[in-house]
Homo-oligomer: 417 residues x 2
């Protein structure tokens, strides 16, 4: 049920922006970014600030055993599952003000707007704050939503330790977020997450809203090429077993393979280690990472097969052993058509430029999509940069994305009769 009154409802952009800037002071870095590692004292302070605002807005608080926080605004019908929106408050060590934080505060701004307008929804509305999305201090990444969705065992997550040996469970207890609710034992009607794009597409195309269709699947490999280290001077070219020369050809192939699997195929070599890495020594071994992405698992399988065959052929012709070791993989995750359509409808109704797109990065929404209908709303970020202290977004886009979220939440939660 909708009404022309709620169709005209708009969030308070300056309030949302002000809260983003206040939250960014917790863990603020000299270069304008934020360092608020998961389950640190600063994470506790960030959570306390947001939970405090939510309490002032009349919301109740529940915490599960992995520290996920659910802030609830009651609906008319307490038997309906809540319509949930949120993201995470932890950041990278040199993170920005928007990644995750925007999704949480946009959800809070939706609630504030409904409160201000005296709008009552049929279903409850909840804000989710997921624990340790970034994975900087504790691996795996997207830990809270992963445990919630049953993808990561609670015991495994609890046992994860940071470089100083402190466990997730101990740190949850220390900061007061070791809750009692069993993760996942928390029905949801739908989940939406507003997020900066973390890529350049919206900005370059001057489009305000990204209607996210799902996330790319990922296959990570380590590739090790073994040659024979030797002096650069006395070793004639024909007698060399130069591991880097073979590795470089494979590095070019990683990108070529992405081009052979359009339009969403992506291939990246991000990390290279050369041994012994000395100016006048022919490299004896080169290890490098391979990151392959695509929007269906079948295409990912094809890309993985392609790199395996290319490596095998190159090993055959060069005589150098090439190992290709799987490191980890994430399946492609499509979002619910009903949620995708709802986001698109809202953007259109608001007169905002929008386009359908795939998310190349992982988000908590990837895991919620396994257990509840899920959608995402992207807004542009400056130069496509994130995970960086210079991460930035325009106030108008921040506001626009939140208005889309408001309409989507209203549509899904329904107006109380």
């Amino acid at each position: 049920m909708r009404s022309s009154a709620t169709d005209a409802l708009r969030i308070d952009g300056p309030r949302l922006w002000q809260r983003l800037m206040m939250l960014a002071e917790i863990g603020a870095t000299p270069k304008g970014g934020v360092c608020r590692l998961a389950l640190s004292e600063l994470d506790r302070q960030g959570r306390a600030l947001v939970v405090g605002w939510a309490r002032q807005a009349g919301m109740t608080v529940a915490v599960d055993q992995i520290g996920n926080v659910f802030l609830r605004r009651m609906g008319r019908d307490p038997t309906l599952p809540p319509i949930v929106s949120g993201s995470h408050l932890d950041t990278q060590p040199t993170g920005g003000k928007f990644d995750g934080n925007y999704g949480v505060l946009a959800a809070l701004e939706v609630v504030e707007t409904l409160n201000d307008a005296g709008v009552r929804t049929e279903a409850p509305i909840e804000i989710a704050i997921w624990t340790n999305e970034e994975g900087s201090r504790f691996v795996p990444v997207m830990m809270g939503s992963g445990v919630f969705a049953g993808a990561i065992p609670l015991a495994h997550a609890w046992a994860a330790r940071d470089t100083e040996g402190r466990s997730v469970k101990d740190e949850l207890a220390r900061i007061g977020y070791l809750g009692t609710q069993v993760p996942g034992d928390h029905p949801m009607g739908a989940y939406f997450e507003a997020h900066i794009e973390q890529g350049p597409v919206l900005e370059q195309e001057e489009t305000t809203i990204g209607v996210v269709l799902g996330t790319l699947g990922v296959r990570w490999f380590d590739c090790i090429v073994t040659g024979m280290e030797a002096h650069a001077g006395p070793t004639p070219m024909a007698m060399r077993q130069d591991a880097l020369q073979i590795a470089a050809r494979l590095m070019l192939e990683v990108v070529a393979i992405a081009g052979r699997h359009p339009p969403h195929g992506r291939g990246t070599v991000g990390m290279v280690q050369v041994h012994p890495n000395s100016r006048n020594v022919i490299p004896g071994q080169v290890k490098f990472s391979i990151d392959l992405r695509n929007h269906t698992d079948a295409l990912l399988d094809a890309m993985a097969k392609d790199i395996r065959e290319t490596a095998a052929a190159l090993s055959e012709t060069s005589g150098l052993p090439i190992q290709l070791e799987p490191v980890s993989s994430y399946p492609a995750q499509p979002f619910a058509p009903s949620c995708i359509d709802a986001v698109e409808r809202a953007a259109r109704a608001l007169g905002l430029s929008h386009r359908r797109m795939i998310s190349g990065a992982g988000h908590d929404a990837v895991y919620t999509a396994r257990v509840t209908p899920t959608g995402m709303i992207f807004i542009p970020c400056k130069d496509g940069i994130s995970h960086n202290e210079i991460e930035d977004a325009a106030p108008a886009d921040v506001e626009a994305g939140c208005n889309v979220l408001l309409q989507v939440m209203l549509e899904c939660a329904g107006l109380a009769a």
Copy 2:
């Protein structure tokens, strides 16, 4: 003047081998190598052992201001400049038993053999022990011979410091090798150096003696390709500025350029640094080393021009800035035809398999060649490996190279009437 008696003279292979093994105990590493850094306490012990043997063999000792040691066996005519042979006693941190050490002890073995046979030469014979050839603890490399030849100013060499801040001059004084002779103020009639090949050619061709024509010139560059770091997931292939993809193409070109300048052209990329070197981040900058070698400076110039033009073209087509910064260069150094011929004659007379070849690595002989007629004698080393604890050479080859040196020294010093 030669005689059938001296033509039949042979060095004492087991004695030479035993001394190599004794010397290798000073700084011996658990893996069978040697760590005897220049001007360390172990360097002092190594020098003391060899100088002690030389004194027992009746030789006099002179030390210059950069710590080069000249051990002299008198000839009949004290006005003739000495015929000199030697090398260095310092090693790499994980060096072997033969590099440098062989050249010094082979020269000593020549003297012992002449003493045993009661052979008197016309000109004096000297053993040179050059300071800090390796350059591991103090740069530049080949310091002692470089100062001797006037290529490195004494004050510059004295001022060089190790990572703990200790200077060459202080360390020379501490180990008792800050001599008074002005470097270079020491005439030589000729200089010969016996050395392991440090490459695979002799071993693979089953040849015992390398008649060295000179050394390859070297040009070192640092290449920096600057792209834009970005998330591997959300950044479509067409919007990337992947520094590693362009760098990899240039790395392949470094080797291709060597192939375009045969037969002695060599091209090596030994060192690579990727920034930020993270698995899921498109590299924003890649820095790598370029090592180009050839046997004439004109060919080196052509290779350097080739890599500059290739980099410029690649920068043009990719739009990514590519910097090519000269790091250092060494000119190609041909040896004296008279010395080359003498080595070849001796190998032939001894019935040893031999071939003419270029040295790809630097040696003290590169600097002596600037001030006196110079030649080198190479022997095979196992798998072409040096600067490594597993560096090895066969006793028969060690002996053969020393016999060639004996004949060459005899020919140049002449038999006393």
